[in-house]
């Protein structure tokens, strides 16, 4: 993983772009300010054959979404500056990025927080800690060609 100068967003190795069937790998953005969770999520998503982008705060995430158009975002709710909720709202209000799938990852466990996440437009809301196996399954389902837009 190489980080850009401002540390907000990252281009992954080109080798990950192409997988077995010759189709370009789909992009997944991981937006979280906790490097220790990013390490595992990045490893796991790469193993699943996605091209992984990483952002460390809300603004970086939004910038990456607008520039790279990832198919799916694993979005942490509590990040410095712009929160995951704010990013979610911004993504949904922009015609260009509206269709991005968003899985909100959050340490906030209250029902009100969940309601807010779903209200802001998250497709799924996952409370930390979570089972990676279930998360991977959720991501696979959402990335399947027949998954509802």
């Amino acid at each position: 993983m190489t980080e850009t100068q401002n540390g907000t967003f990252n281009d992954t190795a080109l080798a990950n772009k192409i997988i077995g069937n010759g189709k370009p790998a789909e992009k997944v953005l991981i937006a979280d300010d906790e490097p220790n969770i990013v390490v595992s999520l990045e490893f796991m998503m790469k193993r699943e054959g996605f091209q992984v982008l990483v952002a460390r705060d809300g603004l970086g995430a939004l910038e990456a979404i607008r520039r790279e158009h990832p198919r799916l975002v694993l979005l942490d709710a509590t990040m410095p500056g712009m929160t995951g909720f704010d990013v979610c709202e911004a993504v949904r209000s922009d015609e260009d990025t509206r269709d991005t799938r968003i899985v909100m990852l959050t340490a906030k466990g209250r029902e009100t927080d969940k309601a807010r996440g779903v209200g802001a437009g998250a497709d799924a809301y996952v409370t930390k800690p979570f089972s990676t196996r279930e998360l991977v399954q959720k991501v696979r389902d959402m990335m399947a060609p027949d998954a509802a837009e």
């Binding site: 906790e34 220790n36 969770i37 390490v39 595992s40 999520l41 490893f43 796991m44 193993r47 509590t78 990852l105 340490a107 906030k108 466990g109 409370t127 930390k128 800690p129 979570f130 089972s131 990676t132 196996r133």
Partner: protein
């Protein structure tokens, strides 16, 4: 002396009548005689009259005197005596303490006089009895009021009692201290602009909130609830959070409407902040823990992959170790904070150091049978302690110290040290103290306490240790407690002592603004602010400035010396030497004091809803008026001037200086030529002038203002 002419006439009348009767008889007899007989009678009587005429005259005089005497006796008995009786009765009617009526005249009159005197005596006794009963009753009522006042003053909560209009009838020292805390005025007013007898509570708590709470209480009264009250929380303009509990003041009868209300005020700012802090911490802990656990869980899941490279494996293991360590640190920090918070929650009470030492000495002397020297303690050293457990700990330590010593020579002392207090139990050193004195339960201290000395120290958020010293060759040892000092309470207590008697005035219950304009209201019912200023000079337009404002209040005819405003003002210019000789305010004294722009809003709040009074007040008002544009503070209250009022009472007096007027009214003036000293003197003069003005028919504010305008001095000046 005026002669009693009617009586004299009445006394002469019988004699004259007798003379006339005899003369008419003689003339009639003479007229019946024929001429020769008449001549013969004349010839016979002529010489007789010459020789015996005086005898006849004398005989007549005797008869006349007897007649006069008889008239005099009858007059005295039947006219003068009843008249005197009537007069005496009239005096008795108007004055019960008049001497008894004199018993005169005949027997009947004397009986009437005796009956009158008996009646009068009875009436006098009844009146005295009545007066005694009234005095007893008033005394009992006053006593109850004083007791209530004293009770409320000592309460730990802030209590304010208001009438239905929100006028304050009673407040206690805690309420005063609370207002001092939430006041935004400079130190000189320090809350006196918010709380004071007759002031509106709406300066502290929003009227709309109080009205809302009252409505809710009224509804509960109508529903017949036994103890209706309402609670709410409000923000003060200074950012404090107050919890208010409102209960009605009612007559004893069930369902009676409220005549006023009691407010219990609690400054919950700190409490709220502590709770908010705890909430934030709880939230942070759960969120960081969830995030940390997620990282650990994910890393562990990754470690399950069998084909990891060594570098990747180490990376995920490092994640687990880092997250576990971070979580451990968070929990340690939180545990430390929680334990100090729980210690802080232990209810500590404010206590004078001297009182604590006295109580502890007494306990130790009883427990050990040894005398304890109590060192003289700094007078105003207040501690925040749980005195019961602390005295138990001291007694336990005294037992430890006594053990194995011939002459332990116990001594207790308390002193201030770096914002905390040292509480020392000193004793003869040399021998060792049994180990475990800190941590073993104080069972031996009488009462079988499971606590240890260390527990007690920690309860106070303090420390305890044993020190060895050598003073003049004698080894001494000291058990030393480090304890928290009390902060606000000592302040409260100091202020409470000064002015408790002025903390309540239940007569204001009856006082009501009603629909009367202030002009129509009797002067005795109004609230006045009597004020004075000291200035750099006499020419406000020429750049002279106010350097001190002093004011006091008169409410319901009482001078409230405790509710005063006393503030030095930084004039932002030099103070001429000539003035310093008069007011004694040197430039160093106003350095660091607030500017007039800061003081006037506070002073304006202090005088709100009152009539301004001053001596030659036009001078002071000119200074205030000139600041209106700059500060935006407008003083449009009604104004009375003691100079003008005094000239109405003593129009012919030459000197109308405050001293001269005070001297004429028999007032001793002290502390003059400070603004507050002059304001107090002026207030006393004003209070003496009020009854004198009333004698001249000047009863209301309007009449006083009209009379002032017509007075000689007013015409001279304006």
């Amino acid at each position: 002396m005026r002669l009693p002419w009617p009586l004299i006439a009445a006394m002469v009348a019988p004699g004259l009548a007798l003379a006339l009767w005899l003369a008419l008889g003689a003339v009639g007899f003479y007229a019946t005689l024929d001429a020769p007989a008449a001549a013969a009678l004349a010839a016979a009587l002529g010489p007789l009259l010459e020789t015996h005429g005086m005898l006849v005259l004398f005989w007549w005089l005797v008869a006349a005197s007897v007649g006069a005497w008889a008239v005099q006796v009858l007059h005295e008995r039947y006219m003068a005596a009843p008249a005197r009786l009537a007069e005496g009765a009239r005096v008795l009617v108007s004055d019960a303490s008049a001497p008894p009526v004199a018993a005169g005249g005949d027997a009947a009159a004397r009986t009437i006089a005796d009956a009158l005197n008996a009646l009068s005596q009875e009436r006098r006794t009844l009146k005295q009895e009545m007066a005694r009963l009234v005095e007893d009753a008033s005394h009992a009522v006053a006593h109850q009021r004083d007791q209530l006042g004293a009770l409320v003053a000592e309460l730990q909560q802030s209590v304010v009692v208001c009438n239905l209009e929100g006028r304050i009838l009673l407040y206690n020292a805690r309420a005063r201290a609370l207002c001092r805390r939430i006041s935004r005025a400079p130190g000189g007013a320090g809350g006196a602009e918010l709380i004071g007898l007759g002031r509106s509570i709406h300066g502290v708590v929003d009227k709309a909130l109080i009205d809302h709470a009252r409505e809710s209480v009224d509804r509960r009264i109508v529903r017949g609830e036994p103890a209706p009250s309402a609670r709410f929380v409000t923000h003060t303009p200074s950012g404090h959070l107050l919890r208010v509990s409102l209960a009605p003041v009612r007559e004893a009868a069930e369902g009676a409407p409220a005549t006023g209300y009691v407010l219990l005020l609690d400054d919950i700012t700190e409490e709220y902040e502590a709770e908010a802090h705890a909430d934030r911490q709880w939230l942070t802990l759960t969120e960081t823990s969830r995030a940390g656990l997620a990282s650990i869980q994910a890393a562990l899941d990754m470690l399950d992959y069998p084909d990891l490279e060594t570098e990747e494996r180490e990376r995920f293991q490092a994640v687990v170790r880092e997250e576990v360590a971070a979580m451990g640190e968070r929990i340690t920090a939180l545990a430390a904070e929680a334990s100090s918070a729980s210690k802080a929650r232990w209810p500590l009470q404010d206590m004078l150091g001297a009182d604590l030492i006295a109580a502890a000495s007494h306990h130790i002397a009883e427990a050990t049978g040894l005398a304890v020297t109590a060192d003289t303690v700094e007078g105003e050293l207040w501690l925040s302690v749980d005195s019961f457990s602390l005295i138990a700990a001291l007694t336990f330590l005294a037992r430890c110290a006594v053990e194995g010593r011939e002459a332990p020579d116990l001594e207790l002392r308390v002193s201030r040290a770096d914002g905390r207090a040292h509480l020392d139990l000193c004793f003869a050193g040399g021998a060792a103290i049994a180990a475990g004195w800190q941590s073993s339960p104080m069972d031996g201290a009488g009462g079988g306490s499971p606590l240890s000395v260390r527990d007690v120290a920690e309860r106070h958020g303090g420390e305890v240790w044993l020190e060895h010293a050598r003073t003049g060759g004698t080894p001494r040892a000291v058990f030393r407690f480090l304890l928290p000092l009390a902060s606000a309470a000592a302040d409260t207590a100091a202020h409470a002592g000064e002015s408790r008697p002025e903390f309540y005035d239940f007569d204001l219950f009856a006082a009501s603004e009603g629909h009367h304009e202030r002009d129509d209201r009797p002067l005795g019912e109004l609230a006045f602010t009597v004020f004075d200023t000291e200035t750099t000079g006499l020419d406000p337009a020429g750049g002279d400035e106010i350097i001190q404002i002093g004011a006091t209040r008169i409410v319901n005819g009482k001078l409230l010396k405790a509710e005063c405003f006393d503030q030095l003002v930084n004039p932002g210019r030099s103070i001429p030497e000539a003035g310093i000789a008069i007011h004694g305010i040197r430039p160093a004294m106003v350095r660091g004091q607030p500017a007039i722009g800061e003081v006037l809003p506070a002073f304006h709040a202090f005088v709100s809803d009152t009539v301004l009074v001053g001596h030659n007040v036009a001078f002071d008002l000119r200074f205030l008026k000139l600041k209106e544009a700059a500060t935006g503070v407008v003083f449009d209250q009604p104004v009375l001037d003691t100079l003008l009022l005094a000239s109405i009472v003593h129009p012919n007096a030459e000197a109308q200086s405050l001293e001269a007027i005070a001297a004429r009214l028999g007032i001793t003036v002290s502390g003059r030529h400070t603004a507050l000293g002059d304001a107090l003197a002026c207030a006393e003069v004003f209070m003496k002038l009020l009854p004198l003005l009333q004698q001249q028919g000047i009863r209301t504010l309007g009449e006083a203002r009209a009379a002032s305008e017509d007075s000689y001095y007013a015409r001279l000046r304006y």
